[in-house]
């Protein structure tokens, strides 16, 4: 009777040979047609987007928000009358020598 190790080695070699003897499978052409059908269903790849185009899209997406902010800012300016400030600015520009900071600011 051979030793356990020897018998194990023989069995390993036989199983290994069996693994390599696995019968070769012949497939028809149907599977190729199936692959191409599945691939066509997935569709072509989308071309890589241009970064400049992406930036443009991003900017246009912000347009409504920007318009809304402009309208709100205009409303705020109309509500708080800015005419006095405008007058002060005019007098400051035209009569710069006489006007001082103390006159401008209620100190």
């Amino acid at each position: 009777m051979k030793s356990l190790e020897y018998r194990q080695e023989v069995l390993k070699k036989i199983l290994l040979r069996k693994y390599h003897e696995k019968e070769k499978l012949e497939l028809g052409d149907r599977w190729q047609a199936n692959v191409m059908r599945r691939v066509r269903n997935l569709g072509p790849f989308q071309p890589k987007p241009d970064p400049l185009m992406q930036f443009g899209q991003f900017v246009w997406r912000l347009t409504p928000v920007t318009c809304l902010l402009i309208i709100m800012a205009a409303a705020v300016l109309l509500k708080f009358d800015f005419t006095p400030d405008y007058n002060v600015l005019i007098s400051f520009i035209t009569d710069a020598e006489e006007i001082s900071l103390a006159q401008l600011l209620p100190l």
Partner: protein, 206 residues
């Protein structure tokens, strides 16, 4: 008539497919079908080969944009094929679709023949060829999906640890440790089988 037009390289065809020419993928399919068939047929049961080979190519198509074109396309595709086989085993083991049935009298008879003094020619005794495959499947079913794949690649196919690591997408250290442990597990299973068979109790092997 001899056609001198050079064949487009794999990288060129990949560029065409990624550029939107889906039909060009058929060229890659026909060029590399033998390689993928060989890998899938080697690792999976025969009845799963046709469906899995389709999955490999569809998976490859989806991953085409990640192919950098610097390496060999066939290596890249082989890696996808091996990982698809690994995924198959992972699902099969998780779903417990691997038959863990005990060996039968037929297998016991086969093993007795193998272990007898006369059958040392390292081939399965005549009339018992299917039993050898069944015993092999039985032994491999006792491993995990990871152990099975690594064992098949490193010990059965004879790939280097580095090659197996690249195909599986694992670290070299992981493959080294797993292959060592998997081999020990398989050896233990075979040892148990032989010793139980020697005592006439092969049915007791779990």
């Amino acid at each position: 008539m001899h056609n001198d037009t050079p064949k487009p390289s794999d990288a060129d065809i990949v560029r065409q497919v990624v550029g939107g020419n889906v039909n060009a993928f058929e060229i890659l399919l026909k060029r590399h079908q033998a390689l993928v068939l060989r890998i899938v047929n080697r690792h999976l049961p025969i009845h799963e080969v046709e469906e899995t080979i389709q999955d490999v190519f569809v998976r490859a198509y989806r991953s085409l944009p990640t192919f950098k074109g610097t390496g060999d396309f066939s290596h890249w595709l082989a890696s996808i094929a091996v990982r698809t086989c690994y995924d198959y085993w992972r699902k099969a083991y998780r779903a417990r679709e691997i038959p863990l049935s005990e060996l039968t009298d037929r297998h016991r008879q086969w093993l007795e023949n193998v272990m007898s003094e006369q059958s040392q020619n390292l081939s399965a005794p005549k009339g018992y060829r299917s039993e050898a495959g069944e015993v092999l499947d039985w032994a491999l079913a006792r491993l995990t999906a990871e152990d099975r794949m690594v064992l098949e690649l490193v010990y059965f196919k004879g790939l280097s640890v580095k090659e197996a690591a690249k195909l599986l997408g694992w670290s070299v250290a992981n493959v080294k440790i797993r292959s060592f442990r998997a081999r020990k597990k398989l050896e233990k299973t075979l040892k148990n089988m032989i010793s139980k068979q020697g005592r006439g109790g092969i049915h007791e092997i779990s």
